[in-house]
């Protein structure tokens, strides 16, 4: 633990230009598909037309006979190893229930075969020439259908492992208790209960999934892929394809957004196998329609929350029950469900009695996976709705009720220890928390006291304000690991080698800022290489809000080791013991003011005396996961004639510790809140009665554009996390949890109806108003 330093940071906390920024604005930075290799094969995948069917025969001979077709893959000629596509730490807490190509298909779009050909057009033609016979099976198209006695079994194969109860379609089951929740409700003065439902929604990074595989000059396979988890890709590929890990190199170039969907090994196996079979480069890019049909989504959930409070407003008992639809495969099924409780319930730690339980179930619908917020988004909707209902019953201002009950500095929650990432958690106390200040700022900026309960009218439009609070985490304690290597060059610059995975978040930049801060150099002296399994050290990747906190600490530790080496080399040059020396402005400086440039220090180490490479590697595994905190406030106008909801003003005040790069931290909040606004108001994947996605385009699936947005204010509240690198916590996910409960509560303030199903479309709002 470190206290806040007396001295101002030189590089940290500054809005530096992103280290990869110039290349990106100039259009020069190369994404996966921007590398054109000679004789590249184009790969297309044949998806299942049925939600649930057995493949009784497959004949690829006509497709193979088409001129220009190089290779056809199906279950008949590919490895049958069961694995998970979830790019998680090993052993993964997700079931091994997927095969490269299976003899059974479990959702519309499930993989049947793949063709590699000289052009995309030939590959597409060849897909049509593959003759497949299916035996259609009854499909399971909802959570309730999946749990019915005698329901069709989605995973009836004998060789899948890690499924809680395959015969009953239950992927995972979670049940944890603190105190006695039933007794707690009996002892409560007021009890409220609410059930909320969230929809199928997609990440829609503007760059769809894409991978390019090729053989290097040593005949090793290089997989250049748009991923959040390059090291997990390498491990899962080696296992799935049955090839030695050292024969695989995974490179993540620039990535056009991830948000969780690229924490999944979706395409790499197919492209890699084409290359292994043909010796040729293979490019596999999903179209936008394929992305909607066959990539990942958020887990739709039905979550029930019951709260009991004493007359003074203090929470006494909380119960949360989650039912999660994990689609045709169980990737992230257990952990997303567990996080629905573990990332929400500690927020209200005053309740002595708590119970979280639930199940994740298979259906024959599109496959959910990791999605920014990771279950917490689904949990905060009913939790923060119920808090509003409780406030009303107790006649306490909703802001006041939260102030009374939220976790504070120095406090803990038994949930931290009881419920972790699909297993027991890790106990921790909160060492930084400015949530009270966040609430205060948010309430003031939105004009809470002036506007709440006023229902001001403007023609058919009625105004209302709502709020919600939340926490998330900073990585997965005692599981996540990150490493960093720093080596010095004789011009006084440094190479920073990190496994951490910049998917647009700016992690290359903020991690370099941290190293530059320790080493006393401007950011321009840090050369960043990231996410290449051959050349950078291990890192679990970009997920679970881990990078700033976990990878950041590894970087700071590596920099501190390098600093010690530099000081030792400089000591004889300055005729001063290393202990009294420090690094400042690209030089080693002694207490008496004498100094020697870093270039000179490195030249001595490389060419002159006791020669060695100044370099160090450091690793970090966190023992806790300090939560960032967020207060959301929104003003909405509801059209009482059409049910349309306009969000006029949204304020988000966040405590993420020290913001290493304030504009990038704000950008994380702004982006996640706008994604959350779409999730709250317009975004919904609609499936037909046969399980087919009916709106697989950005025209029919509406994500927010620049014209669709409220005045959006993000406030970074001053805070310092003593266990964090330079005082930082992570901030990548938390914002996306805010809009749904905040807007739902604002709609209630405006028109007196509770929306319990997302998205809040005009139809749903109008129906709710008419029903009330």
């Amino acid at each position: 633990m470190t206290a806040r330093p007396d001295r101002e940071f030189e590089v940290v906390g500054k809005n530096e230009r992103k280290v990869d920024g110039t290349g990106l604005v100039a259009g020069r930075r190369k994404f996966v598909a921007d590398l054109h290799l000679p004789n590249t094969l184009h790969v297309k995948i044949l998806g299942s037309p049925h939600a649930h069917a057995r493949i009784t025969s497959i004949d690829t001979s006509d497709a193979e006979a088409i001129p220009g077709v190089a290779c056809v893959l199906s279950h008949e000629n590919t490895p049958s190893t069961r694995h998970t596509t979830a790019g998680q730490g090993y052993p993964e807490p997700s079931p091994y229930d997927a095969r490269m190509f299976d003899t059974k298909v479990r959702f519309v779009g499930d993989r049947v075969a793949a063709v590699a050909a000289e052009s995309e057009m030939i590959a597409s033609e060849a897909l049509k020439a593959i003759r497949v016979e299916y035996e259609e099976l009854p499909a399971v198209l909802s959570i309730d259908a999946a749990l019915q006695e005698g329901a069709p079994v989605v995973h009836d194969e004998a060789d899948s492992t890690g499924i809680y109860d395959a015969a009953r379609n239950i992927v995972a089951d979670v049940d944890i208790d603190v105190g006695d929740v039933e007794k707690g409700f009996e002892e409560s003065t007021v009890v409220v209960e609410t059930t909320c439902e969230t929809q199928y929604a997609q990440h829609t990074p503007i760059e769809p999934h894409v991978v390019l595989a090729y053989l290097d000059s040593d005949e090793r396979i290089v997989v250049r892929t748009s991923t959040q988890v390059p090291f997990h890709v390498r491990r899962i590929l080696a296992y799935t394809l049955g090839i030695p890990m050292h024969q695989i190199r995974v490179i993540k170039p620039r990535v056009g957004g991830g948000f969780g969907t690229k924490q999944e090994v979706l395409l790499e196996d197919v492209a890699a196998l084409v290359t292994l079979r043909t010796g040729r480069a293979a490019l596999l890019e999903l179209t936008r329609a394929e992305e909607f049909i066959a990539a990942r989504t958020r887990h739709p959930m039905r979550v029930r929350v019951k709260l009991g409070a004493k007359a003074d407003g203090s929470l006494h008992a909380i119960e949360m029950e989650g039912l999660s639809n994990t689609g045709a495969y169980g990737a992230h099924g257990l952990t997303v469900l567990a996080n629905t409780g573990s990332k929400t319930l500690p927020l209200y730690n005053k309740a002595e009695n708590a119970h979280f339980f639930g199940q994740a179930v298979y259906t024959n619908l599109p496959v959910p996976g990791a999605y920014r917020g990771y279950g917490a988004t689904q949990g905060y909707f009913p939790l923060e709705t119920a808090m509003d209902e409780l406030a009303e019953k107790l006649s306490i201002d909703p802001v006041e009720l939260r102030r009374l009950n939220h976790i504070r500095l120095g406090e803990t929650s038994p949930i931290f220890e009881k419920l972790g990432e699909g297993r027991e958690g890790v106990s921790q106390t909160v060492k930084s928390c400015e949530l009270a200040r966040c609430i205060e700022i948010g309430a003031e900026r939105i004009g809470w006291t002036e506007k709440r309960g006023k229902q001001s009218k403007d023609g058919p439009w009625v105004h209302g304000v709502g709020m919600s609070i939340m926490m998330q985490g900073s990585g997965i304690p005692e599981i996540d690991m990150a490493a960093a290597t720093i080596k010095m060059n004789e011009d006084g610059s440094f190479n920073l080698l990190i496994g951490a995975t910049d998917i647009g978040t700016g992690s290359d930049t903020i991690l370099a800022q941290m190293a530059a801060e320790v080493l006393g150099v401007p950011l321009s002296k840090m050369v960043v290489t990231s996410s290449d399994t051959d050349t950078t050290p291990f890192d679990v990747g970009a997920y679970a809000s881990s990078t700033t906190y976990v990878s950041g600490t590894a970087v700071v530790r590596a920099a501190e080791k390098v600093r010690a080496q530099i000081l030792a080399v400089a000591a004889p040059l300055l005729e001063s013991p290393a202990e009294g020396l420090f690094l400042r402005e690209e030089a080693v400086v002694a207490a008496n003011g004498s100094r020697v440039g870093l270039d000179r220090v490195c030249q001595r180490a490389m060419y002159e005396s006791d020669q060695f490479q100044i370099a160090a590697t450091a690793s970090f595994v966190p023992s806790e996961s300090p939560p960032p905190f967020l207060a959301n406030f929104a003003e909405v106008a509801v059209d009482t004639e059409t049910g349309r909801v306009n969000v006029l003003h949204y304020v988000a005040a966040v405590d993420c510790g020290v913001a290493i790069h304030p504009k990038l931290a704000e950008g994380q909040l702004e982006g996640s809140i706008v994604n959350g606004l779409g999730y709250a108001l317009t975004e919904e994947m609609i499936t037909s009665s046969r399980g087919r996605v009916r709106n697989p385009s950005l025209f029919d699936y509406k994500i927010p554009g620049a014209l669709d947005l409220p005045k959006l204010e993000v406030v970074l509240v001053d805070s310092y996390e003593p266990t964090g690198p330079m005082g930082a916590k992570s901030v990548g996910e938390i914002g996306i949890n805010g809009p749904i409960p905040t807007i739902a509560n604002a709609i209630y303030d405006a028109v007196g109806v509770r929306l319990r199903k997302t998205p809040f479309t005009p139809e749903r709002v109008l129906a709710a108003m008419r029903a009330s």
Binding site: H36, H203, A706, L709
Partner: protein
């Protein structure tokens, strides 16, 4: 068929297949700064200037623009110097993953060429066809405002 295109100030003849889009032709010719996010005209990642106006190159048939003047993101900057709009995107933190950035820049250039002093609403209107999933647009709008100021005061050569 063979067509002639003037791309970023350099004329070249290119062979195009029937039905091939300008996006496909530009990427094949090496202008990979032009991105494909949907192929159906919904996301704007493929926007280029066609005879001075921003268009979705994925919806533009290459065969129909024989003789056209095309500006892609690669033509905005020289190696030594970025365009003020690119500078503003960097300074305002408007670039996250950068995949929508080329299209967003072209829409911004189109706007600033016609309207050197746009309001926030005019900026939002101008980039309403460019979807971004990372930024929430706040910093992109600010970057275009800032570029407008830079270009008005600096007299930079904005008329690319």
């Amino acid at each position: 068929m063979t067509i002639m295109l003037r791309i970023n100030g350099v004329s070249r003849t290119v062979d195009v297949a029937a039905g091939e889009t300008l996006l496909e032709v530009l990427r094949r010719e090496g202008f990979v700064g032009v991105k494909c996010g949907c192929g159906t005209g919904d996301c704007g990642a493929c926007a280029v200037l066609l005879n001075g106006r921003a268009v979705n190159s994925c919806l533009t048939l290459a065969g129909k623009v024989d003789g056209a003047e095309i500006l892609t993101v690669e033509g905005l900057a020289s190696v030594e110097r970025l365009h003020p709009l690119q500078e503003a995107f960097l300074d305002e933190g408007a670039v996250q993953c950068g995949y929508c950035t080329p299209g967003m820049l072209m829409s911004g250039i189109d706007l600033l060429t016609r309207n050197p002093n746009p309001s926030e609403d005019e900026i939002r209107e101008a980039i309403s066809g460019n979807l971004c999933r990372c930024t929430g647009y706040v910093k992109q709008v600010r970057a275009i405002q800032s570029a407008a100021e830079r270009m008005r005061s600096g007299g930079d050569d904005c008329a690319t």
